[in-house]
């Protein structure tokens, strides 16, 4: 069984999406030119989600990738809701009041977000009312809390993350009279999701990260080459600071059982996540909710299972780590991706591949035979690889697709091998997850002219 190149392309391109920031008067005045995004499932159904939206009541653009585990319910909910929480957190007091008054008097609401969605990126209709009322409660609290200070983006991001996770938890505890919704909020709470979100406003780039997805900045050096700058830290066992944090939050007696086999309590890979109430609620709360919950929940062995050595919950938080970066003209693009990408590719390669793709320039060193002993056959093989690298660029109209092609199809030479690509993509559903994870990528391209101009003004 063998996929033809057009078949491979149709699989790779099924979920690709591109957005170009519209121009005004022939000019793009935004620091963002646009973005490309795509995802390739390994799980069936895919557990990754992505979101992108422009804030309409404040400036800036929001982009995020969400990696779900134990099902996709939590990632789905976060992808729908988180940006509203962030947008609301950023809104000035007057706007919040205006919105609240509109809702109160049944007037049309000011639109808060303009979504940029692929047709496959759905929102659940059934839960919208519930989600809205939780959100409204949040902004009402914000109105009451009116501190009079201008909103700090970092703080807003942290608040939004925490608040949404809190709401997810509360909704599950309270339940819903509608049995479908009741089951939904429980699935959301008992599954989990990491989130890596970027907020771009002019030259201010904020990355809020919870979990092991990653944000990376592509920087073009003066000699034209590409380098990568990390804008997030993975929250997992490889991050010593993170391990230390978890350990300080719990009694010394638990030190040994906290992190086992590089997992939290020997179970969970990410050390921070939305949902996952099994790592947040007390055992009593968990038991109560499950028992009063629907039968499907009771039948699920995973939800009923209490993590071992579970003494001092919560063990998990959704609080993000926020990094602020001032964009410079040499910062050409930002890659947000779930760990499916980073497991297969080094960030340096990601920077080079995307950079070369976006600029259309290939910094392939010319080959010189010199004094080496090279046969015609060897040279032929080498040249074919180099050519394939270039030709695969022209196949893709989307930087994220191009990156996925490399992530899945790269051989030991770092070039796309069609045969490998074909094999990887034709794996049966049950096997696919063994060889690769869901991959979700957003590549944001920056507008160096605008960034340069902003920099000069400052």
């Amino acid at each position: 069984f063998y996929l033809t190149p057009p078949q491979v392309n149709s699989i790779l391109k099924a979920n690709e999406y591109s957005f170009k920031v519209p121009e005004f008067d022939g000019k793009n005045i935004s620091s963002v030119l646009g973005f490309d995004s795509n995802q390739l499932p390994a799980n069936a159904p895919i557990e990754d989600r992505r979101s992108a939206a422009t804030c309409l009541q404040t400036r800036g653009m929001l982009l995020g990738v969400f990696d779900g585990h134990a099902g996709c319910a939590c990632a789905q909910a976060v992808s729908e809701r988180l940006f509203y929480y962030i947008a609301v957190s950023l809104l000035p007091h007057e706007t919040l009041l205006e919105i609240e008054n509109a809702v109160e008097s049944g007037r049309a609401l000011l639109p808060i977000l303009q979504w940029h969605k692929h047709p496959n990126d759905y929102f659940s209709k059934e839960a919208s009312k519930l989600y809205f009322s939780s959100l409204r409660t949040y902004w009402q609290e914000l109105i009451d809390l009116n501190s009079g200070e201008t909103t700090d983006v970092k703080e807003a991001l942290i608040n939004a993350f925490k608040r949404l996770d809190n709401d997810i938890s509360l909704e599950a505890q309270v339940g819903d009279p509608n049995s479908f919704l009741n089951y939904l909020v429980l699935r959301v709470a008992f599954s989990g999701a990491t989130a890596c979100v970027a907020h771009v406003d002019g030259v201010d780039l904020h990355i809020a990260n919870t979990g092991d997805s990653r944000a990376m900045l592509g920087v073009q050096e003066e000699d034209g080459s590409w380098s990568a700058v990390n804008l997030s830290y993975d929250h997992n066992a490889q991050n010593e600071r993170e391990v230390k944090r978890v350990k300080t939050e719990h009694p010394k007696s638990e030190e040994k059982s906290l992190v086992k086999q590089d997992r939290l309590l020997g179970l969970l890979m990410p050390f921070r996540a939305f949902g996952d109430v099994k790592f947040k609620w007390s055992i009593e709360l968990q038991k109560r909710v499950i028992e009063s919950g629907p039968d499907q929940l009771n039948a699920n062995e995973y939800t009923k299972f209490i993590p071992p050595n579970y003494h001092t919950p919560p063990y998990l938080t959704a609080e993000p780590e926020v990094i602020h970066h001032k964009l410079r003209p040499q910062d050409k693009f930002l890659v947000l991706a779930t760990d499916g990408l980073w497991e297969t590719m080094h960030r340096q390669d990601v920077a080079r591949i995307v950079g070369e793709y976006l600029t259309g320039v290939h910094h392939q060193q010319p080959i010189a035979v010199g004094g080496y002993k090279v046969t015609l056959g060897q040279m032929h093989g080498l040249l074919a690889e180099r050519r394939a690298r270039i030709s695969s660029v022209f196949e893709d109209q989307n930087a994220a697709t191009h990156l996925i092609r490399h992530a899945v199809g790269n051989n030991e030479f770092g070039t796309v091998d069609h045969e490998r690509l074909s094999k990887m993509l034709s794996l049966p559903e049950e096997l696919a997850r063994m060889y690769r994870d869901d991959i979700t990528i957003i590549v944001v391209q920056f507008n160096s002219h605008v960034i340069g101009a902003c920099q000069n003004e400052e």
């Binding site: 010319p366 035979v369 015609l376 032929h380």
Partner: protein, 882 residues
């Protein structure tokens, strides 16, 4: 890289080769400082100065000195044979499409073969033979056409099967081949050594050779070469020969009087390998795989393989100083497709070790033919360059022709296809050259099919009607930079893509042209023929008439308003040009000649007209738009538009009148159509062109007028047996040989150029005869179409070649035009061709090895056409510059 060059030159014992010129260049070899004076001073004066010590320069020097010219200086900026010549792959191949190129290559081969014996310089000559492979049936047809040409020239050659290929060469993968052509006498040489051998012989004959001497410019006075400026001083001379290879263009432009030599360099790559485990035999045939775009020859036990890729890299566009030729980089990524083709052809080479990828620039010309001849603007300035990477194959023959040209005034063959004067200033734009050579280089190995048009450098010269015609479906070809319509694709109809339309069989436009021809025969068509070269020659007294009477063979002392068809002949009576001349007034003449005559005809006349300020000649080509109204209803259209009587009584054939057409006045109307069909040529001042065209089309509607193109015109003229200059007629064809004695004023007591030769021919008979052939057993739908250059057989013996052909929609047969010769069966000596000889033979035309019966005719099918022809006069001339 240096190591490789040494290796290539390892057998060049050039220091010991010839004491004479070694003494002249002497110790400079080790001297790098230019400040140090050269011990051997340049002469102050020489008859000829040749610039360039590559294969071309040394070949010209060799041949000139052999022909008896001794006072020759050859200047080389570096060392002899150090430029492109040194890097050349050294393949001598006679498998050429054009018979002139084939002859040059054949001569070179024979010359090189005996050169070592003649000079004592080892030339590395090995007769290996060559195999040209065909991966497709079309390619095989192309090879068969060449094979037919080679065979009639007596060059051994055969079409072989893939199995035979395997027997000739052990490494070739034959699985994808349909056949091949084997030329057993093709050879390999060491190019630098051939050049040194030629230099050695020339030097022995008295030619002075100076290395490390570069020409800065050529001094010109009164349109003649007077000397050469070098970095080592001045040399006065009568002749200068520019053999500067890829620097020829720049050298041509270095003087005050520029000489346009349109050529441009492209990088060319070939691969050298270490020897095979079992080293390849040095006489293993060279392999050319045009479908894979590569050639492969044996080289020191390994192979040398290069090719002509689809995406060439032009260089030196901005001049020579941007990059040194020796510093060019290898580019493996660029070479990848050719390497793939090589390994596909010879899979066993996979394990062979690479020695080097050589980057050796080659110069290419706008039409893939080399450039030779005298500058049209500077007398005594000769050029031989632009070899399109066949310099070694052509070197001997081209040098010989140029030497003959200089010594005798003209070469022993018709070299018009290579003549520098086929180009004008318009082909000398650097941008044009850069773009065009990128198309030409891949063309080296592209399939050469009939009616192929260049795609680059187009829309340079256009008629004011271009957009109008284009909007009506015109498909264009280009001649001398001018866009001309081939045919009009009717609305709703579509033709094949460019690549798919390539065929040796019936083309996709067959029916389209057929309907245009039908309209010309039955109603009226209009063809834009503005590209024709137009001169006006006038004088205050009788100077114009007197001069023209001497320069042209027909009697031009005709009443005002008459048009005369006449040849412009050389001393041997051959056609230098074929034109129509209208006498506008007693003292002024309007001359129309083929499009590509613009430079040549101007130079010819300029050099021969008396230097008289009362006699003026002006090129008015750009001032007039020419519309050809062809067909029986042309007269109706024109009379309605002019309110003037245009009956044969008022406007007989071969007349010229200025009249009004529509609102426009001063339109020069001539009753000629260049096809033998009734109709008129309208010469319209360009500002009226659109108006007159619109009027003609509107008025013509009720007579069924439509646009037509050159393909229709060609079909018409060929079925009427009209010869056309540049295709059928050339400097080696006289009016006597093509049945045009009536266009020559032999009986009159007036002297004209070529008269003597024609009188002699009249006395003794001609040695070739222009003949029309109608193919008998040829199936237009199924069989290969004739083109030109097909061998003609009479009673099974070769008697000549065709010069043009077309499908006649009237006869519903193919018509070929060509020349019949008569060779003695035993001695091969050329004999007089009589009418009886032509009429009494059984003829066959060989199209790619397949022979078709043909009926020969010396006169057109007048009976078929007389009812449409006017009684008073026969118009018997035609040319349209195909």
């Amino acid at each position: 890289a240096a190591g490789m060059f040494l290796r290539l030159l390892s057998d060049v014992r050039w220091q010991a080769a010839n004491p004479k010129w070694r003494r002249m260049t002497g110790s400079q070899r080790s001297t790098s400082s230019t400040a140090e004076p050269h011990p051997v001073a340049l002469p102050e004066q020489a008859q000829v100065v040749i610039c360039g010590g590559g294969i071309m320069g040394t070949s010209v020097a060799y041949h000139l000195s052999k022909m008896g010219w001794k006072d020759i200086v050859l200047l080389e900026q570096g060392r002899l044979a150090a430029g492109t010549t040194r890097f050349s792959a050294g393949i001598v191949s006679t498998a050429r499409h054009m018979s002139l190129e084939l002859k040059m290559a054949d001569y070179s081969n024979k010359l090189y073969q005996q050169l070592e014996q003649e000079t004592g310089v080892s030339t590395g000559y090995v007769k290996t033979g060559s195999i040209s492979l065909a991966q497709t049936q079309d390619r095989l047809i192309s090879l068969k056409r060449i094979a037919s040409s080679l065979n009639v020239m007596g060059i051994p050659c055969e079409i072989i099967t893939p199995k035979q290929v395997a027997q000739l060469h052990p490494l070739i993968n034959i699985h994808d081949l349909v056949g091949a052509m084997y030329v057993p006498e093709d050879a390999l040489v060491s190019p630098a050594n051939v050049s040194l051998a030629l230099a050695t012989a020339a030097s022995r004959n008295g030619v002075q050779i100076h290395e490390r001497t570069s020409v800065s410019h050529v001094a010109v006075q009164n349109g003649r070469v007077t000397g050469v400026e070098t970095d080592r001083g001045q040399i006065r001379c009568q002749y200068f020969v520019n053999c500067a290879g890829q620097w020829a263009y720049e050298l041509g432009h270095s003087g005050k009087e520029p000489v346009n030599i349109p050529l441009h360099a492209c990088e060319h790559f070939y691969l050298l390998t270490h020897p095979l485990k079992e080293p390849l035999a040095s006489d293993l045939p060279t392999v050319v795989d045009p479908d894979g775009r590569i050639y492969i020859r044996n080289w020191q036990g390994g192979i040398l393989s290069g090719g002509f890729e689809k995406n060439p890299k032009p260089l030196f566009t901005e001049g020579r100083n941007q990059l040194e030729i020796h510093n060019l980089q290898e580019d493996w990524d660029h070479f990848e497709p050719l390497l793939s083709a090589l390994l596909r052809r010879m899979p066993d080479l996979e394990a062979l070790q690479i020695m080097q990828l050589v980057n050796c620039p080659e110069s290419f010309t706008p039409d893939m033919r080399c450039i030779m001849g005298e500058s049209p603007t500077v007398r005594g300035y000769f050029v031989l360059a632009g070899m399109n990477s066949a310099g070694i194959s052509y070197g001997g023959g081209a040098g010989k022709y140029l030497a003959e040209w200089m010594v005798n005034g003209y070469p022993s063959e018709n070299v018009w296809p290579l003549d520098l004067k086929r180009f004008g200033a318009l082909q000398s734009s650097r941008t044009f050259l850069r773009h065009r050579v990128m198309e030409v280089m891949p063309l080296m190995y592209d399939l050469k099919v009939p009616r192929w048009d260049f795609q680059t450098g187009r829309q340079l010269r256009t008629s004011p009607l271009y957009d109008r015609l284009d909007a009506q479906g015109a498909r264009w070809m280009e001649k001398h930079g001018f866009e001309r319509v081939k045919y009009f694709v009717p609305p709703g109809k579509d033709l094949l893509d460019l690549d798919q339309s390539k065929t040796f069989y019936k083309p996709d436009w067959f029916d389209i042209v057929g309907s245009e021809v039908k309209c010309c025969k039955e109603a009226v068509c209009v063809i834009d023929m503005s590209s024709f070269t137009k001169f006006e020659i006038s004088s205050t007294g009788d100077q114009a008439l007197e001069s023209l009477q001497y320069l042209f063979s027909n009697d031009l002392d005709v009443p005002v308003g008459h048009v005369v068809h006449t040849g412009m002949l050389n001393e041997k009576g051959g056609y230098e040009n074929d034109c129509s001349i209208a006498r506008l007034s007693k003292r002024s003449f309007f001359m129309i000649s083929p499009t590509d005559q613009q430079v040549h005809c101007w130079a010819w006349l300029k050099n021969r007209l008396p230097d008289d300020s009362n006699l003026t000649m002006e090129d008015v080509t750009w001032k007039y738009t020419a519309l050809n109204l062809i067909g029986p209803r042309a007269v109706d259209v024109l009379s309605e538009l002019s309110y003037a009587p245009i009956t044969p009584d008022h406007f007989p054939s071969l007349f010229c009148k200025e009249m009004s057409v529509g609102y426009a006045n001063g339109i020069r109307v001539m009753s000629i159509t260049h096809t033998g069909e009734p109709g008129f040529m309208l010469y319209i001042p360009i500002e009226y062109a659109l108006h007159v065209y619109n009027e003609v089309m509107n008025m013509g509607q009720k007579y069924g007028i439509r646009n037509a193109g050159y393909y229709a015109l060609r079909s018409l003229r060929i079925e009427k047996f009209f010869a056309f200059w540049g295709q059928d007629l050339d400097a080696f064809t006289t009016p006597m040989e093509c049945g045009r004695e009536f266009q020559v004023k032999l009986e009159k007591e007036m002297e004209f150029i070529g008269q003597e030769a024609l009188l002699e021919q009249k006395q003794n008979g001609v040695y070739k005869r222009f003949t029309m052939f109608i193919l008998e057993d040829h199936d237009t739908d199924m069989d290969l179409w004739p083109w030109w250059g097909e061998p003609i057989f009479r009673n099974g013996r070769y008697v000549g070649k065709t010069t043009s052909s077309a499908y006649s929609y009237t006869l519903e047969r193919h018509v070929c035009l060509g020349f019949v010769q008569h060779f003695d069966e035993k001695t091969g000596e050329a004999l007089v061709v009589t009418t009886d000889f032509v009429n009494q033979g059984e003829y066959e035309i060989d199209i790619a090895g397949q022979r078709f019966q043909a009926k020969a005719k010396l006169y057109p099918f007048s009976s078929l056409f007389t009812h449409r022809r006017r009684k008073d006069e026969m118009e018997l001339s035609g040319y349209q510059g195909e």
